[in-house]
């Protein structure tokens, strides 16, 4: 519910209150509503007379009693104008049959002044009511058109009488105008009009003197001669300097003290000035303690935009909310399928293991990449330094251990001096592990002891690509000691190595394509005559293959995964870890191929069934 705060005392009032119930200050500002102005005397309230419609056409000085008085004093208004509106009104009177509908024209909603006077005399009305009505009537006089001014004198003369018949005044009005018409036809119409107007003005002035204070009359009286006013007080006029006289307001008192037209017809209803008309509102309208107007902030959007905005809002709101994980049943089709696939593959792997049967049918032909690698290693002489970069993670040791073990087996057969390095922190440990595995599988005795050093683990290269570059350019400075902290370059074989080109062979074992490419980029560009061989996982072999297929080759040999390891063992006639994995590996690949075919066929059947159902639905 809206509450109106008083602009003066600040207390809250009900919204329907016009005045403050605490300080009687007005809560509703005065506003001029021409439609709510009281109608003229004798004029039907619901029917706008042509005379009233012509009100705007007449001069403002002729609007009301005061204007009539002014005009009488100044004699500035053109007489011809009065004749025009008077003739217009006469034409209206002639066209109306006033005697036929007298009651309807007098059915006004408010009392008229002639009806109030008896009450005043009898004292039955309260003072405020009387004052309000009188001032209201005075204000109405200002708004009355000149036609009513003509009617006024006869009507005012009847104010002291109680009208038994409301139509009598109208008949008198008709007779009055007939008289006016006769006068105008005699050629002295102008003089008679002005005499009637003067009578109306004098009578109205007399009536206003009874109820309006004298100072209001001074304001209404218009400009007065200053000298005359000063002479009334017995003072001689002062002689002002020319410059001061020039600054004086050139307007009249009427200009200074004139009441704005918007407030002229309003009567104060509260406070000490209650009952006075033309009071300027003390409180600004803006001071009313109402709530600010609520302008709609909604955009003019289409229904589609609104729906999209709601969806976007929901998405934004759901961003910060924890989405509960839907409860899944212990057994779902996806879980069952996943476990079924795992069981099938594990079964396929374990069957060859428990059957203890070895698959002797290895790939008969080795690819060029493996064959080239084998040939290069076969050319490695005794005590030749071979750099082996162990760059794979422990998770891929199952695959790369098998592949690297076959190559290391060949290098150990060739009695090469192995130098391990890694840019992976876990690489040095993997290097120690693969040496142990190779010794076990190949029955070798490669050790690093005080009395016998057949390999050196230089440890970890920090710095990523920059570290690799640094090692390739100056391995002594990059890794001066081995993994145990002992000096690495005091060995007779190592003393012959100053940069990476002094190694007889460089082998990189990695499952990571980025690490593999980093060795090509940083170290491979420095290799002149030293071959570079890659031991890679099957998943990164397609990405290393272009470096082998390039002309000239950037990589001289590739051994890829279990298959490459088996092929490499075939080239040297040795069996290693890969040969142990080979039966299970083949079974696992076969199982995977069968599952892919079955899954693809099932998926194709589902798609065909869906298409068939779709055609049926479409046909129906």
């Amino acid at each position: 519910m809206e509450i109106v705060s008083c602009p003066f005392c600040g207390k809250e009032n009900p919204p329907e209150s016009e005045t403050c119930q605490y300080c009687q200050a007005r809560l509703i500002p005065l506003k001029i509503n021409p439609a709510s102005q009281p109608d003229s005397i004798g004029q039907p309230p619901e029917e706008e007379s042509p005379a009233k419609s012509n009100k705007d056409q007449v001069p403002e000085s002729q609007d009301g009693l005061q204007a009539a008085g002014e005009m009488n004093r100044s004699e500035a208004a053109p007489v011809s104008d009065a004749s025009d509106w008077l003739s217009g009104f006469r034409n209206q009177i002639n066209t109306q049959d006033l005697s036929s509908q007298p009651v309807a024209q007098d059915d006004g909603p408010r009392p008229e002044i002639r009806d109030i006077h008896p009450d005043i005399e009898s004292g039955t009305m309260q003072n405020d009511s009387i004052r309000s009505l009188l001032f209201t009537d005075a204000g109405q006089k200002e708004e009355q058109p000149p036609e009513n001014s003509v009617i006024g004198p006869q009507d005012v003369e009847r104010t002291g009488d109680t009208a038994a018949d409301d139509l009598a005044w109208l008949r008198e009005l008709q007779s009055q105008y007939q008289q006016v018409e006769s006068l105008s036809s005699a050629g002295s119409k102008k003089d008679e009009d002005w005499s009637a107007a003067n009578e109306l003005s004098q009578d109205s002035q007399k009536r206003e003197d009874d109820v309006v204070p004298s100072w209001v009359d001074e304001i209404y009286a218009g400009p007065r001669d200053e000298k005359e006013a000063e002479s009334d007080l017995g003072l001689s006029p002062a002689e002002l300097p020319a410059w001061l006289d020039a600054t004086r307001h050139s307007g009249t008192h009427q200009d200074i003290f004139s009441i704005p037209s918007d407030y002229g017809g309003q009567v104060e209803i509260a406070g000490p000035l209650a009952g006075l008309p033309g009071i300027l509102p003390a409180e600004p309208e803006i001071a009313l303690g109402r709530k600010a107007a609520a302008y709609p902030a909604q955009l003019q959007v289409t229904e589609t935009n609104r729906v999209q905005a709601e969806i976007f809002d929901q998405v934004l709101q759901s961003e910060g909310q924890n989405q509960p994980i839907p409860d899944r049943g212990l057994v779902t089709s996806q879980k069952v399928m996943r476990m079924a696939f795992a069981i099938i593959i594990i079964f396929a792997i374990l069957v060859p293991v428990f059957s203890l049967q070895t698959l002797e049918r290895y790939p008969p032909i080795a690819p060029v990449a493996v064959l080239t690698a084998s040939q290069i290693i076969s050319s490695i002489g005794n005590e030749s330094p071979v750099l082996v970069a162990v760059e794979y993670e422990p998770g891929f040791s199952g695959e790369l251990d098998a592949a690297l073990a076959a190559v290391l087996d060949h290098l150990m057969i060739q009695e090469a001096f192995l130098v391990f390095i890694s840019s992976n922190p876990t690489g040095p440990l993997q290097a120690e592990h693969i040496v142990t595995v190779s010794n076990q599988v190949g029955s070798h005795q490669y050790v690093n002891t005080e009395g016998q050093i057949e390999y050196i683990n230089l440890g970890f290269i920090p710095g990523g690509p920059a570290g690799l570059r640094n090692f390739a350019e100056n391995p002594r400075l990059s890794n001066p000691s081995d993994i145990s902290g002992e000096p690495a370059w005091q060995n007779p074989v190592m003393m012959t190595v100053d940069d990476i080109n002094d190694f007889s062979l460089v082998i990189v074992a990695s499952e990571n394509q980025d690490k593999s490419r980093a060795w090509i980029e940083q170290a491979g560009t420095l290799l002149a005559n030293t071959p570079l061989i890659y031991i890679v996982s099957a998943q990164s072999e397609p990405l290393i293959r272009p470096f082998f297929d390039a002309t000239p080759r950037q990589v001289q040999g590739i051994v890829s995964g279990v298959i490459g390891s088996v092929q490499y063992g075939t080239t040297i006639g040795r069996q290693g870890i890969a040969q142990l994995y080979w039966p299970s590996f083949n079974s696992g690949l076969l199982a995977a191929a069968i599952l892919i075919v079955i899954g693809g066929g099932a998926n194709a059947l589902l798609v065909l069934n869906a298409i068939k159902n779709g055609r049926k639905k479409g046909g129906n």
Binding site: K335, R338, M339, A342, I346, I349, L350, V353, F354, G395, F396, G398, E399, D401, A402, P425, T426, L429, G459, F460, P462, G463, G464, P465, A466, L468, R469, I483, G485, E511, R517, A518, I520, E521, Q522, G524, T525, S537, A538, Q539, S540, E541, P542, L543, P546, F547, D549, A550, T551, P552, Q554, G561, V562, L580, Y581, S584, F585, G588, L589, A592
Partner: protein, 234 residues
């Protein structure tokens, strides 16, 4: 090898490997406590081992020991890496982080220079030259290859290279009142490239499966060997 042939360390190692492997395999039935426990153990062990390696292989021999063993002017030269390393700790404090910025900028700059230089010199230029040399008739005759087959092989490689690059070309020229799309010949080339890319992805997927299968075989083989040794021992 029976249980009695195993040492205590081998037996404990084998038992740990067997248990942890089964815990990882328990992920078949969904996420569970055993799988997460093994995951945390692996991460913790890896982090601890890396810290030890870095301290043993880098911090002590390359950073601290030279400072302790140096004297005179060598101390200034050996102390510079340690000083710059300590400046990196200023990055921990926002108020003094600017002290570590030059060192960090030096590290990033050197790494970027090495990576970009290596990529250009080691990969882009050699691979572009290799693609061009596929049509070098002298080189083909020198390798004693069939010229026609070599040219066909080179054409396929060239088509695969160009069409794969065309597939990732998304630049179009906007035309008023027309649908914004690549030219028809570019669309056709991109479709051919898409075929090459699909084949490459299929090959990589097969390699991933082969690698995973090898790892699974290695683990199952280890488990069976451990079980066999236990059975043989009793």
């Amino acid at each position: 090898m029976s249980l009695f042939d195993l040492g205590v360390a081998d037996f404990i190692g084998g038992l740990l490997g067997f248990t942890l492997t089964l815990a990882v395999f328990s992920h078949f039935i969904g996420d569970n406590v055993a799988f997460r426990l093994v995951l945390h153990i692996f991460i913790g062990v890896s982090a601890g081992y890396i810290a030890v390696v870095v301290a043993n292989n880098i911090l002590w021999p390359k950073l601290l020991r030279p400072v302790l063993e140096a004297d005179g002017w060598e101390l200034l030269w050996a102390g510079l890496p340690l000083f710059f390393s300590l400046l990196l700790f200023a990055r921990l404090f926002p108020r003094y982080s600017i002290l570590g910025s030059p060192v960090l900028a030096f590290i990033v700059g050197v790494g970027a220079a090495a990576a970009i230089g290596g990529a250009v010199i080691g990969v882009i230029f050699p691979q572009a030259r290799a693609t061009i040399n596929l049509f070098d008739l002298d080189a083909i005759r020198q390798n004693q290859e069939n010229v026609n087959l070599a040219l066909v092989n080179g054409s396929i490689i060239l088509l695969g290279t160009i069409s794969s690059l065309a597939y990732f070309h998304f630049g179009v020229r906007k035309q008023a009142g027309a649908k914004t799309q690549r030219p028809d010949w570019m669309e056709w080339l991109a479709q051919v490239g898409q075929g090459f890319i699909v084949i490459a992805f299929g090959l990589i997927f097969a390699g991933i499966y082969a690698a995973a299968l090898a790892a699974l075989i290695e683990r199952l083989s280890s488990i069976t060997r451990f079980i066999y040794s236990l059975i043989a021992g009793f």
